[in-house]
């Protein structure tokens, strides 16, 4: 039996990272270091209004007084924030492209390697893609078609120029500037990200999708996403993330804010495949992200779906504030940690309004020496009569050197609340693999089949084409591992 363990370990060890290439493009990068001057420089480069600069500086001054959170079940050496460059933009894009034709062909080549041929997507898939390359959005497709529907989908820096009243009204209204250490840092130095506005009664005519990618060495990426769904509107948004292979660790501290007004629905899906580091744990992305949705209106709904296979360290809790009566929050998550990856992830559901409901389905897969923690908070305030929560938290272990931990927190201040919690931990046993093999199925295929079966409930929440992609991504992440 020991041989079997060793073999699984051996198999799990190798994991090819298909997106680990660097694009040779000259970029304009601000020297490493963080100060008020750097923030002023970023703001000036982007031609920002005074209020936004003030907002950044306020966040920076708060951040200086804060300390990095220590409570997460992850371990890493302290980050030297002065060694990071806070702004990088490809030189050839200073003026900003008007159309895809103006985009550096090398960039387009990069996206092709990532499997997102923009032109093909434009023509075939009907997916509008806002691509963020390092700090500047280089291509936005389908803008016109969306504009006809009244939908605004553009880089946030553009929104600052074109729709300052909307940005000013909503930016920081869900994640305040001093919310937490990394959110404060993001607020101070964010360079780009997406802005989405769906007007009253509009159902967004297509899936919106953004691929983020960190290219420049030693640059942190601090993107900022703001999605506003007005009364009765609906939108489905997908972000995909990859980063090149490097020996150093890179910091990614994003903030995502969602606002849903009365009867609005936002579905936010993430397929995250940041570079996870090598098998010794060298390199890889530190993914310290604040994602929060505000169900501000009655009967509104916000649904987070995430498939996370990358990053060296993940610290992330997409949350919902269920402020409106009868509002609904959902969190569906698949997280895979392999080799030395660490993840402390989960969600927060804050019930404020009456008859608010939330569902949490978390599936954690640990392989190699991966360490994974689910950390979830369900808080029911005095005002939230008849609140309901269902939490299901399942862990799957592959091999015997990985770990799964669950930290559920509940705070209930209204006696009419009903909370259900289920948790399971299982292991892909050698008996299961043997059983499959005795039926003619290879070990690799068996692992992939079992893992996909385990994740089924979450995959079915993803938009169809991405569910297939997610299934494949998981298979690939484990394939290198099992082949």
């Amino acid at each position: 039996m020991a041989t079997q363990e060793t073999e699984i370990r051996e198999l799990m060890k190798r994991r090819e990272y298909g997106a680990g290439f660097v694009t040779a493009i000259e970029s304009e990068t601000v020297p490493p270091g963080l100060s008020e001057d750097v923030i002023r420089l970023i703001s000036a480069k982007k031609g920002e209004p005074e209020w936004l600069l003030e907002f950044r500086l306020k966040a920076y001054r708060r951040w200086l007084k804060m300390t990095a959170p220590q409570w997460a079940h992850v371990q890493y050496p302290p980050i030297d924030f002065q060694a990071i460059s806070y702004y990088s933009q490809p030189k050839s894009h200073k003026a900003g492209p008007k159309s895809l034709d103006e985009v550096d062909p090398k960039l387009l080549e990069t996206y092709k390697k990532l499997g997102i041929p923009l032109r093909e997507q434009e023509m075939l898939a009907g997916v509008a893609v806002d691509v963020v390359f390092d700090s500047v959005s280089v291509a936005t497709t389908f803008k016109k078609k969306l504009a006809e529907a009244g939908v605004i989908f553009c880089p946030i820096s553009e929104a600052v120029q074109e729709h300052p009243e909307l940005v000013r009204k909503y930016l920081g209204s869900v994640v305040p500037f001093g919310d937490n250490y990394y959110a404060a840092l993001n607020t101070a130095v964010f360079t780009d990200g997406s802005f989405v506005f769906i007007p009253r009664g509009v159902r967004c005519p297509m899936e919106l999708s953004t691929y983020f990618r960190i290219n420049e060495r030693n640059t942190g990426q601090f993107e900022r996403t703001l999605i506003i769904a007005e009364e009765g509107s609906q939108v489905s948004y997908l972000e995909g993330c990859t980063a090149p292979q490097r020996d150093e660790n890179q910091l990614h501290a994003a903030v995502v804010e969602l606002v849903a007004l009365d009867d609005a629905q936002i579905k936010y899906s993430t397929v995250q495949n940041w570079y996870p580091g090598d098998e010794q744990g060298r390199g890889g992305i530190y993914n310290f992200v604040t994602k929060r949705g505000d169900c501000r209106g009655a009967r509104s709904k916000i649904s987070w779906t995430q498939v996370e296979t990358g990053s060296a360290i993940t610290w992330k809790y997409p949350s919902c504030i269920l402020r409106g009566d009868d509002s609904v929050g959902e969190f569906y998550s698949v997280a895979l940690t392999n080799n030395r990856q660490q993840a402390d992830t989960g969600t927060k559901m804050i019930h404020v309004g009456k008859n608010t409901r939330s569902t949490i389905v978390s599936k954690g897969i640990s392989a190699g020496q991966g360490q994974q923690s689910y950390r979830g908070l369900v808080r029911v305030l005095e005002t939230a009569a008849n609140a309901r929560n269902y939490t299901q938290c399942d862990s799957l272990l592959i091999g015997d050197r990985c770990g799964a931990h669950t930290f559920p927190y509940t705070e209930v201040r209204n006696p009419t609340a009903q909370l259900e919690h289920e948790a399971t931990t299982s292991k892909i046993g050698e008996d299961q693999l043997y059983y499959c093999r005795a039926r003619g199925i290879s070990e690799e295929e068996a692992v992939s089949m079992i893992v996909n079966g385990f994740c089924k409930e979450v995959f079915k929440e993803l938009p169809m084409e991405f569910a297939v992609e997610a299934g494949k991504l998981l298979a690939v992440s484990l394939e290198g591992a099992v082949g």
Binding site: Q432, Y434, R439, G440, I450, G453, F454
Partner: protein, 247 residues
Amino acid sequence: MLEIKNLHARVEGKDILKGLDFSVGAGQVHAIMGPNGSGKSTLAHVLAGREGYEVTEGSVRFDGQDLLALPPEERACLGVFLGFQYPVEIPGVSNLTLLKAALNARRKRNGQPEIDPADFLAWVRDRAKLVKIDPKMLSRGVNEGFSGGEKKRNEILQMLVLEPRLMILDETDSGLDIDALKIVSDGINAMRSPQRATLLVTHYQRLLDYVQPDRVHVLARGHIVRSGGPELARELEARGYGWLEAA
């Protein structure tokens, strides 16, 4: 079809099989009987290729091919089927998913295209009727929440769907009530053909009332202590194993 020569096997450093010799011809059914701990299940797993079951001496040939050199999945694709004594649960993976993957693995190996989904479904449903398995159960997780009897019937269903050439059934009769035993036996008999061979590993005579063996081998402490016709099974039923173990 199956030739076993001087087979020695060790599990966790302990010698379990100590020189087995017998052959099963095409069209034949052989029963392996014996007391607990005699090595019956070890033999079944050695034939299927379980990791950790180390063959220290001897050979096993299947259609002239060296079976022991192949990993379990290749043996299965050649037509070796092991019906498990303790079928394994695989939550979240439906019976249909497993069966389809298993069928397509065989087809791939034989250079055939994947099976048409509609043909597949029709085939599985047809086979399920033979073992009285409700089509609804096919969409449930593999053996997930199945009763002991359902698990055994599910093993027989898999066998009927995959149509192996060598069927090794490890105590498939244990824990079955009389109705389930009848269903399982019908399934096994439905598979009997001049092209197939069957190895029934069992503790009791009662399965053999329904599935007539051609030969019976009694295993004790890693050796075949006696071989004979069907009458040997009845003798064992009457006298127990003690007289043979002492021999």
